[in-house]
């Protein structure tokens, strides 16, 4: 009997933690439909007013475009350089392997503020203006360690025997890459791209150092809007972001599972 009460306390505690984690997020979604000027509790009515206003806000739409372009380019670049590196770590033995792996992963541990200052100082020394390119290379450095971690974990599962079998059966190295390696690698590439896209799309601190008025991203824009006060429009924008960023990985997971079943 004692065991049961102990376990139910643990369960209750866990439920409370879930409430703590999700209560603020749920509040954002609920309040985004509040038609009042100062969108707060209690709810008085239900309207899409703030979404309509959002859709007409040209600066936010512009920021969305910037964020999408930046996130897509970041994910392409970082996967292109990250996948080969991950392959080197998983497939080969070479001197200094562990040290190099740690070196490439350390940016996770370096505060973004320091990364922001460092890259900006470097650009200033080179006498280059802040530009979109600065944001792009900054985001590549920022996301590279995460891509390496995620992709390495997936690559470990790909056995070399498949490639060896194909080579033995007379395939040339190009065919082996196209027919064997690439399809097996596809989930890792997808995971890496998705992860880096989300981190890039979401980043605020370092981006605040690097962004100019012309190439603001959505989080930077929200940060600027918050200086005045929290408006229901921000809650509406938040809801759109939540739906976008949560549905993307779920959708990708669903698609890759469907692919796995089909093949």
């Amino acid at each position: 009997m004692k065991m049961i009460t102990g376990w139910s306390l643990i369960r209750l505690y866990t439920i409370l933690i879930y409430i703590f984690m999700f209560m603020p997020i749920v509040a954002v979604i609920i309040l985004s439909f509040n038609p009042q000027q100062f969108g707060s509790f209690p709810m008085e009515g239900f309207s899409f007013r703030w979404y309509v206003k959002l859709a007409q806000n040209q600066t936010i739409l512009g920021a969305f475009k910037n964020s999408l372009i930046l996130g897509s380019l970041t994910s392409i670049c970082v996967t292109a350089i990250g996948i080969p590196a991950a392959m080197a770590f998983v497939r080969y033995d070479f001197p200094g392997k562990n040290t190099l792996n740690t070196l490439l992963l350390t940016p996770i541990m370096i505060p973004e503020v320091v990364l922001g200052v460092a890259l900006l100082l470097f650009i200033r020394w080179l006498q280059q203006p802040k530009s979109f390119l600065l944001l792009l290379i900054g985001h590549v450095v920022l996301t590279l360690p995460y891509v390496l971690l995620v992709v390495q974990a997936r690559l470990v599962g790909i056995k070399r025997v498949y490639e060896e079998a194909a080579l033995t059966l007379g395939a040339n190295p190009f065919q082996v890459f196209r027919e064997i390696v690439l399809p097996l690698l596809a989930p890792a590439i997808l995971a890496g791209m998705l992860f880096s896209f989300t981190i890039s799309f979401d980043d605020v601190t370092a981006t605040l150092f690097w962004a100019t008025a012309q190439n603001q991203t959505v989080p930077v824009k929200i940060f600027g809007m918050l200086r005045n006060s929290i408006s229901p429009e921000i809650n509406a924008l938040g809801t759109v972001m939540i739906i976008l960023t949560v549905s993307t990985p779920l959708l990708a997971g669903y698609i890759s599972r469907r692919f796995a079943q089909a093949s």
Binding site: F94, P107, L120, V140, M241
Partner: protein, 288 residues
């Protein structure tokens, strides 16, 4: 395989070059700049002097921000540990069919924009937020309580951001425990609580320490929660760096503060790595 020893290096070259050029060299620049002087005109003068460091440690205004940062780090770690261990243990012991969905839910906030998650607390803690609304509705208070823009609200934002890291680190460690050890302890006459205390808890400590380090390091560099949820007295070291560099364009001093922050973190990380090994931390990311 010897003949192909250049191959891994060719594969690594793009990543290594980027990190070297865009991270290692820029950080070296920060270190060099931290010794420079700033002219009254605002120009940076190359020099080698410790004035920026002296200024930081002599002026209590600056050093108190560093002390506050450490205090907030310890508070966040302690709260995340208290709030995170039991859910991690729950995931370890539950036999529910929905375990994978519950784990996915705990990781879901990773996918939600950090700035949205942070500002969402304004809707809860603000003067017209959920808590004040409920307290006033039930007549417990008449005027709204000031719950926002203090250290407590900053901690709320930090915990909501960092708790999943703590839970995952502890869970990964718990999940690696050989369950037959628990059965052995039970069959040898241990009570449930003794089995936990003697077997589960000690074996979960690597995850606990990895989670604590990660939460500490991420808190130390935090910029957004104090900006959005804190008041004028809740600035942390990252806010000071941003203000010096972007606000007053004082590059040498801003660089010196960055070096101080970075070196303190490096000391902590290297000490940790020396005694406990850093790889445990990276393990939890793969679960995520």
């Amino acid at each position: 395989m010897k003949a192909k020893s250049w191959k891994p290096w060719a594969l690594l070259a793009p990543s290594l070059t980027s990190v070297l050029l865009l991270l290692v060299i820029p950080v070296c620049f920060v270190i060099v700049y931290s010794f420079w002087l700033r002219a009254p005109t605002g120009a940076d003068i190359p020099a080698f002097q410790f004035g920026n460091y002296a200024k930081f440690f002599e002026d209590f205004f600056y050093s108190s921000i560093l002390l506050r940062t450490f205090r907030v780090c310890f508070e966040t770690v302690a709260l995340c540990l208290v709030m995170g261990y039991i859910p991690a243990y729950f995931f370890f012991r539950t036999e529910s069919k929905h375990k994978s969905i519950m784990l996915l839910l705990i990781m879901l906030p990773f996918w939600i924009s950090f700035i949205i998650r942070t500002l969402s607390w304004i809707n809860i803690l603000g003067d017209t937020g959920l808590f004040n609304f409920l307290l006033m509705k039930f007549g417990i208070i008449i005027d709204p309580l000031a719950m926002l823009y203090n250290e407590g609200s900053v901690l709320m934002g930090l915990i909501q951001f960092l708790l999943p890291f703590m839970i995952l680190n502890i869970y990964v460690s718990l999940d690696g425990i050989d369950r037959s050890l628990l059965e052995a302890a039970r069959s040898l006459g241990c009570t449930e609580w003794q089995a936990f205390k003697e077997v589960t808890l000690p074996l979960s400590l690597p995850g606990v320490s990895a989670g604590c380090l990660l939460v500490f390091v991420l808190t130390a560099g935090t910029y957004l929660p104090p900006m959005i949820l804190g008041g004028p007295g809740n600035e942390l070291i990252a806010n000071l760096i941003f203000k010096r560099v972007i606000g007053t364009l004082d590059w040498p001093f801003g660089s010196a503060i960055s070096v101080i922050l970075l070196s303190l973190l490096m000391v902590i990380i290297f000490t940790y790595n020396r005694y406990l090994g850093i790889n445990q931390i990276f393990k939890s990311f793969n679960k995520g």
